[in-house]
Symmetry: C2
Subunit: 477 residues, 2 copies
């Protein structure tokens, strides 16, 4: 137990602004803020600042700016890429948004929620649901991830196929800029062509341009009908064909369209208690499709039965089961949600959160499978993911009975092999999780030239002293 | 007929890059590029450059950059705010995108169109429709406006209520930056969290950060059912209540939801040949609602009849007519599309393209009506517009028989009065048309402080010499 190393004048000024509750300096208190969710990074910080309002946040940032102290914004601390973890120097402060946690208003005319950054996504979803509305963003970390973090990382998830990423859901935004000034674009306007898209720029900037403090989020009427089906298909090409068939009928009905390889589903069946495949026999691949609509009529059921009926008849789908109750629906979703856990139980694995154009998904899977099997004979190719968005978690599980360490020694070779193929197909090395620290080194190769140069110029223009979340997105020069 | 004043070395280098077809220097040829669509501005230019490819455009921009020559990007030249018109100095060149006019590809797996900037919106719509797809953006200037201009101004229109503005439709973008480097973010990815939102930033920047040269546009399946109705309502509050009733059932079915004041509809009825109100008697206000879906079933008809049935029963809607054929549908749309023309025929008018949060629309109309009537007794308050987006064209028509010039002498007093009310209601002074030259002076008052300062920093970072579309968005310092 020891005090961290905040310069005394800054400490006193921050204490004055934030109060004792808002300023953590004991390492016992600050340590949890210095390690990322995956425990890949273990940093240190000079203090954790916990402002309770935008005003407090702005004052604290202005003080840090004046003292040249780097700042690491942090929400629920669920980054997959070390995006909210300070470096090991101990020079930076972490600025946690968790105390800015009020839902200000839900507007039924505009279907919007005005919310502070520290509200967890789950709490925001619940506040909307309590008024018969839907906040159409769902990710597995939603119980901890907060609105500020979700926006800073432009989170995706299961419903992106219908509603877009977090960026598309934010109608208004407030952020504290690196110098402590407050950017207030909290307008509730669907049409407002008056200058640059600052809101969109701050969203997804991973805290490198400022700290998001409030947002106006667009809501939807809550669904009143829902149809969920698990389908056995021959592979990714057939899954895409099924997606196109649903989309042709009504793209707005598709709330989720998820792909699971037979290998990965096999692991779920074997290693997850109570996960039972409700189909006659195992298949090369599976699709979980969920249709939803605020309409209370039976048109979704008709749509589901029509498309699946034709697909079964043509052989595109070889078997299918429809959820006939909420408990059956949840059982089907278990078969989708437990892939990461099942893979963990199967031994060491290498993860690739990649995206490609839809048409390239079969090529991605075929080429990456061949490349990875050549590298490590016997490894288990276990892709799954949001195929409707072109987002595949192309995960590789160690050969059965092999030494996990020996397998993980190959992780960079495997990742590089997958990355080469993704790149050749016009894809991205990070679909959902962002760049953070983990992938910053990839930026010059993938986003180099005018793209990275323009990003650097914007960063330097808004944060000339490089004080806001340094070391994220941009590799060290 | 005379030659313009391009420096000879630059002239020769540009001629080498662009060829004779791509370089206009005779004022007879260049004059049409120097006047805006509304004929509010009459500028001069040193030449018009007409590159036929991104490569030519990049080389031409690099040359202009090297010579310190300002550049004014221009698409279909349909700006409502002088956004594509050079100033009167004659120092700038106009860079016209019209020769970059190829539709490269339509991708049925991804539902995207890869298109060059100079393709008109209409041509792009037609190319999509020819393959059974919908490009869901529609504006009145679509026959001339091109994709580059539509994106540079983040165009809106009738279908924003369903599909968002142009920014939401672009999945990929290519632009030539002010120094001639090419920003290539032509990725067809729905999930790609790898750095700043440069695409979104360039879109809506009105050509001040670069010249958009290509884009990947998201398409939709073409509608196979459509229901259109004209409804008589008591006013804006009732129109909003009706909007909420449709939205509660199925927001994705609402392709357009348009408001027309009784006064404006009266002008259409009186002054437009063949425009006949198909209702029993005139009403205080009207709504044109269009539902559409790719589904071929009768669920839209049911939805329309259910919502309108309840609204008629409760008295929310006092009368309504459903289009029973395509010609009836088009006749209803005439009653929406002819308001600008009817107002023109009624004499001088003052236009305000404003937006407010939905809940504030009745207050906007009430307060602005009172303020304008106090300023000019007898003027005709004739608002109409995209009420589902909060976007009202709050137009004022001169008193009957009054002197148009005397009325127009009051135009700034009227606009200021409306602007004050819009601002008090959290609205915007430009919903759809952008800032351009016309409204640049309003930026400091409306978007001042950290917002305008951040925009200025971004502009200076990407275009340090202020060569790209100078004088637009930002007022002279």
């Amino acid at each position: 137990m020891s005090e961290t190393s905040l310069p005394q004048p800054l400490h006193d000024a921050l204490l004055d602004v934030l109060g004792a509750t808002g300023l953590l300096t004991d390492t016992t208190d600050t340590d949890p803020f210095c390690t990322d969710w995956r425990a890949l990074y273990h940093g240190r910080c000079a203090a954790v600042l916990r402002p309770a309002s935008t005003e407090e946040c702005a004052k604290a940032v202005a003080l840090c700016h004046a003292h040249g102290v780097p700042m690491v914004p942090q929400g629920g601390n669920t980054s997959m890429v070390g995006g909210a973890t300070p470096d090991t120097s101990g020079a930076a402060v972490v600025i946690s948004t968790t105390r800015m946690n009020r839902v200000h208003a839900i507007d039924h005319a505009d279907l919007t929620m005005t919310v502070e950054a520290g509200v967890t996504l789950k709490a925001a979803q619940d506040a909307a649901a309590a008024q018969g509305l839907l906040l159409p963003l769902s990710i597995s970390s939603e119980g901890s991830a907060d609105i500020g973090g979700v926006l800073a990382t432009n989170a995706g998830g299961n419903n992106t196929v219908r509603y877009g990423n977090a960026r598309e859901l934010a109608l208004g935004l407030e952020a504290v800029l690196p110098d402590g000034s407050v950017l207030d674009v909290m307008r509730k306007l669907r049409k407002d062509n008056t200058g640059y898209a600052l809101r969109q720029l701050l969203i997804g900037a991973e805290g490198t341009l400022g700290i998001i403090t409030r947002a106006v989020i667009q809501l939807q009427p809550a669904p009143r009908s829902r149809e969920t089906a698990l389908c056995a298909v021959g592979g990714a090409a057939q899954a895409l064909e099924l997606f196109a068939a649903f989309r042709k009928q009504d793209p707005s009905a598709i709330h989720a369209f998820e792909f699971m390889s037979g290998t990965s589903m096999g692991l779920v069946n074997t290693l997850i208690d109570g996960a039972t495949l409700p189909l006659e026999e195992p298949a090369p691949a599976y699709v979980l499709v969920e249709l939803a609509s605020p309409r209370a009529d039976d048109s979704l059921r008709t749509l589901m039965e029509t498309v699946l009926g034709e697909a079964l008849e043509s052989g595109l789908v070889t078997d299918a089961v429809l959820a006939e109750s909420e408990s059956q629906r949840q059982a089907l979703w278990v078969l989708r949600e437990e892939h990461a856990e099942a893979q963990k139980r199967a031994g060491a694995s290498v993860k690739n959160d990649v995206s490609v154009p839809l048409a390239a998904i079969p090529a991605l899977i075929a080429q990456a499978t061949e490349a990875c099997e050549a590298l490590v004979p016997g490894l288990r190719v276990a892709p799954f993911g949001h195929i409707g968005d072109g987002n595949i978690h192309f995960n590789l599980v160690q050969p059965e009975g092999a030494d996990p360490k020996a397998f993980l020694a190959q992780d960079h070779a495997i990742m590089d092999a997958v990355a080469d193929i993704v790149r050749g197909l016009g894809g991205s090395f990070s679909a959902e999780h962002g760049v953070g620290q983990l992938k910053a080194y990839m930026m010059p190769a993938w986003r180099g030239g005018a793209e990275l140069e323009t990003m650097r110029r914007i960063k330097a223009a808004i944060d000339p002293a490089n004080l806001m979340n340094p070391g994220k997105i941009f590799p060290a020069a």
